[in-house]
C-alpha cells in the first residue's frame, strides 16, 4: 500500500524544519517585513547546533545555541530593513549568501574539513514517541501563533503594524518594535528549524545543507496566506512530497526525479491556489481582469 501511516509518519518528520521556518516567515509577513532570509537563518542554526553539540556533548545546548545564533543573525534583517529601511529582498538574498559563505568558512576553520562534518560521536536529538522533541514544539507553535494572532493583543497589534503602520503608530503602537520582535522570533524559529535539520533529521553538517528548504518555507507562507494553520497545511504538502519521493526512490525511480519532486509539487500548488483565488476574486468583483494597472 502506497499511502499508509508510514508515509504519513515520514511526511510529519520531514515537515518539521519547514514548518518552524515558515511560521517565522508568517509572523514577519503579518508584521509587514518580507523575510526571504529564512534559508540563511536556518543554515546558521544548522552549523551552530552541530558545533555546540560537538563541543559540549549536549544536543540540547546545541538547540539553544542554534536559536540564539539565528536570532542574532536575524538582526541583520531587522536593522537593515526596519531601522535603515533598506531593501528586504536584497537583504534576504545577501543573508542567504552570507550564511553559505560563513558556515563553509567556519567548517574549515573550526573543524578543518571541507564539504561535510560527520562524526559517530556527534550527539543528535533523541526521539520521543517516534518524533523529535522539536516536532512537538513545532506543532505547539502552530497553535500558539494562531491564538496569538487571532486573540491576543500582541498579535492584533502585530497585524495592525503590518497592515496599517501609520494607524498603528497613531494609536501608540511602535511599528519598529513589533517588526523587530517578529524578525527576532522568526530567527529563533529558523534556528530551531536548523537544529532539527542537523541534529534531528540527520546528525551532521554539510555545506548548504538546507538546500532550498528556507525557500520552500517562503512559498509555504504564500500558500498558507501567512495563517499558521494554512502554513501547516502547506508544509504538510511539502513533507508528503518529500516522503513520497523517498518511497518512489525505493521503488526504482531515479534519485534526481525524487529530488526535484518537492519543488515541482510546491510550484504546482502555488499555481492551483492562485488560480482558485483568482476565480474567487473574479466572482466577487465582476471581472478582475479589467482593473488594469497592478497596485
Amino acid at each position: 500500500m502506497f499511502l499508509d501511516s508510514d508515509l504519513l509518519m515520514s511526511a510529519l518528520r520531514a515537515l518539521t524544519p519547514i514548518l518552524l521556518a515558515a511560521l517565522g516567515g508568517a509572523l514577519c509577513e503579518r508584521a509587514g517585513v518580507f523575510n526571504i532570509g529564512l534559508e540563511g537563518m536556518m543554515l546558521m542554526g544548522c552549523f551552530t547546533a552541530v558545533a555546540t553539540s560537538w563541543f559540549t556533548g549536549s544536543p540540547w545546548l546545541g538547540v539553544l545555541a542554534a536559536a540564539l545564533a539565528a536570532a542574532a543573525y536575524s538582526l541583520i534583517l531587522a536593522v537593515g530593513a526596519v531601522t535603515l529601511r533598506g531593501d528586504a529582498v536584497v537583504l534576504g538574498v545577501a543573508m542567504n549568501l552570507l550564511a553559505v559563505g560563513l558556515t563553509s568558512f567556519l567548517l574549515r576553520t573550526v573543524f578543518g574539513v571541507q564539504g561535510t562534518f560527520d562524526d559517530p560521536s556527534l550527539a543528535g536529538l533523541p526521539l520521543v514517541g517516534g518524533f523529535s522533541p522539536l516536532a512537538y514544539l513545532a506543532w505547539a507553535a502552530v497553535g500558539v501563533s494562531a491564538l496569538l494572532l487571532s486573540r491576543h493583543v500582541w498579535g492584533l497589534r502585530l497585524r495592525g503594524v503590518g497592515e496599517a503602520p501609520d494607524a498603528a503608530a497613531t494609536l501608540g503602537v511602535s511599528p519598529a518594535r513589533y517588526k523587530y520582535a517578529a524578525v527576532l522570533v522568526s530567527g529563533v524559529l529558523c534556528g530551531l528549524a536548523g537544529a532539527q535539520l542537523a541534529l534531528g533529521n540527520v546528525t551532521l553538517f554539510s555545506e548548504n545543507m538546507t538546500a532550498g528548504r528556507g525557500w520552500i518555507a517562503v512559498v509555504a507562507v504564500m500558500l498558507g496566506r501567512a495563517l499558521p494553520l494554512g502554513v501547516l497545511l502547506a508544509a504538510l504538502l511539502f513533507g508528503l512530497a518529500e516522503a513520497a519521493g523517498f518511497r518512489l526512490q525505493g521503488l526504482g525511480m531515479p534519485q534526481q526525479a525524487t529530488d526535484a519532486a518537492p519543488y515541482v509539487v510546491t510550484l504546482v500548488a502555488l499555481f492551483l491556489s492562485t488560480a482558485q483565488r483568482r476565480r474567487r476574486t473574479a466572482r466577487t468583483t465582476g471581472n478582475a481582469r479589467t482593473t488594469g494597472v497592478a497596485p
Binding site: E29, V90, A94, L97, R159, Q256, A260, L270, R278
Partner: protein, 377 residues
C-alpha cells in the same frame, strides 16, 4: 578645458567616495580584514596574495576565464534587475544551456565550426526558454518571479544531473559526465591559455546591453520601469510583455554562459561543474552592487572574479580558507542593501514598504498573504 575636466573628475571622485557602493566595498574589506586577524593571518599579506594571485602572470588567465562566466551571469541578472525584476533561477538556466550545448556538440552532423555555432545557439535558446517559463508563471499564474525562477531551478539541475548519470553518461567513466566533444568542437582559445572566444561573446553582450540601455527606447522603458513601475505602466509600458522579454534575454545569456563552459576545457558536461563555483550568486552580487548599470556591472564582475581567483592563492600563502572571499562578497551586499532601496514593480504586502510613506489603498489588502494583492491585477 583641462581645468574643467579635472574639476569634473575631482567632483566625480568625491561623489564616488561618498557613494554607498564605495562604502559597502570598504566595509566589506575591513570586516574581511578582521576575519583574517581573527584566524591569525596578516590581512595585508592576504589581500596582497589575492591581488598578485589573480592579476599576476600566472593568475590573469584564470581570472579572465572565471570572469567570462561571472560577467555573463552578472549581465544575465542585471538586465531584468534594471527593471526591478530579480531572476534567481540562473543555475537552472545555466545548466540547461550547458546540457543543450553538450547534446548539440555530441550529436550534430554538421562540420565542427558550424556545430560550435549551433551549440551556442542551442544553449542560449534552452536558457531563454526556461527563463521565459518562469516569466509565464508570474504573468499567467501569479506566482512571483523571485519564487518561480528559483523553484524552477532545482528541477532543471536535477534533470541535467540525471541525464549525465544515465542516458548521456560516458561509458566506462566513474564520473557523472558526458563524452568529450568531438575534435574541433570547441571555442577558439587565445594562444595556449584557457581564455576562449567566450570572453569576446560576453563582452559583446555587455556592449549591446550598454547600447540598448543608453540609446534605445527599450532601454529607456526598462530603466523607467525600474525607477517607477507605476509611472511606466501609466506611460504605456506593457509589463507582462516586458517581463517575458527581459527574462528570455536573461535566461538566454545564462544559457550562453553554460554553453561556453561546455565548449571550453574540459569540453564536456560534468555534473556540478557549472554550478559549484557559484557563478550565479557571484553574478547576482555583481549586478546588485552595480545597481544593474552596464559599465558598473562589468567592473563589479571583474572585481568579484579577482576575489574568487585570488582567494585560491590567498589560501595557498596564508592558509586562510578561500571561502572567506564568499563571506566578503555577501558582506558587501548586506551593507549595500541596508543603504539602498530598489523599487519593485509589484510590491508584495510589507515588502520594503516605507512606514513613513502613505500606502495607497489596494483592493484585497484586507486579505493577508502577499499573493492577495496580485489578484487585483
Amino acid at each position: 578645458m583641462a581645468v574643467d575636466s579635472t574639476g569634473v573628475l575631482a567632483a566625480r571622485a568625491k561623489g564616488a567616495l561618498r557613494s554607498p557602493v564605495t562604502f559597502s566595498v570598504v566595509a566589506g574589506l575591513v570586516i574581511g580584514a578582521l576575519f583574517l586577524v581573527g584566524t591569525g593571518a596578516d590581512p595585508l599579506a592576504a589581500y596582497g596574495a589575492v591581488v598578485t594571485g589573480s592579476l599576476g602572470g600566472d593568475g590573469i588567465g584564470a581570472t579572465l576565464t572565471t570572469g567570462t562566466s561571472v560577467l555573463g551571469l552578472a549581465l544575465a541578472l542585471a538586465i531584468p534587475l534594471r527593471a526591478g525584476l530579480i531572476n534567481l533561477g540562473g543555475d537552472g538556466q545555466l545548466v540547461l544551456g550547458g546540457i543543450a550545448a553538450a547534446v548539440t556538440g555530441l550529436y550534430s552532423p554538421l562540420p565542427a565550426p558550424l556545430t560550435v555555432v549551433l551549440a551556442l545557439l542551442a544553449g542560449t535558446a534552452a536558457g531563454a526558454a526556461y527563463a521565459a517559463l518562469a516569466a509565464l508563471c508570474e504573468n499567467r499564474f501569479g506566482v512571483p518571479l523571485l519564487v518561480s525562477s528559483l523553484l524552477l531551478s532545482y528541477p532543471a539541475t536535477s534533470f541535467a544531473s540525471y541525464l549525465v548519470r544515465h542516458p548521456l553518461k560516458e561509458p566506462g567513466s566513474s564520473l557523472p559526465q558526458t563524452r568529450r566533444l568531438p575534435e574541433g568542437v570547441a571555442l577558439p582559445a587565445f594562444g595556449t591559455s584557457t581564455v576562449t572566444a567566450g570572453l569576446v561573446l560576453v563582452l559583446l553582450a555587455a556592449a549591446a546591453y550598454w547600447f540598448a540601455d543608453r540609446r534605445t527606447a527599450v532601454g529607456y522603458e526598462i530603466r523607467m520601469t525600474g525607477l517607477n513601475p507605476r509611472f511606466a505602466a501609466y506611460a504605456g509600458v506593457e509589463r507582462k510583455g516586458l517581463t517575458l522579454r527581459l527574462m528570455a534575454v536573461s535566461g538566454g545569456l545564462a544559457g550562453l554562459v553554460g554553453s561556453i563552459g561546455v565548449l571550453s576545457f574540459p569540453y564536456r558536461f560534468l555534473d556540478g561543474s557549472l554550478t559549484a563555483p557559484g557563478y550565479t550568486w557571484t553574478g547576482l552580487t555583481a549586478a546588485l552592487l552595480a545597481a544593474a548599470a552596464p559599465l558598473g556591472t562589468v567592473l563589479a564582475a571583474f572585481f568579484f572574479a579577482v576575489l574568487q581567483v585570488g582567494g585560491l592563492s590567498m589560501e595557498r600563502t596564508t592558509e586562510v580558507p578561500r571561502e572567506l572571499t564568499q563571506v566578503l562578497q555577501a558582506i558587501v551586499i548586506v551593507f549595500l542593501a541596508a543603504r539602498l532601496r530598489f523599487p519593485r514593480p509589484r510590491r508584495t504586502r510589507g515588502e520594503d514598504r516605507d512606514p513613513g510613506a502613505p500606502e495607497p489603498p489596494t483592493p484585497g489588502s484586507a486579505v493577508p498573504g502577499s499573493a492577495a494583492q496580485r489578484e487585483a491585477v
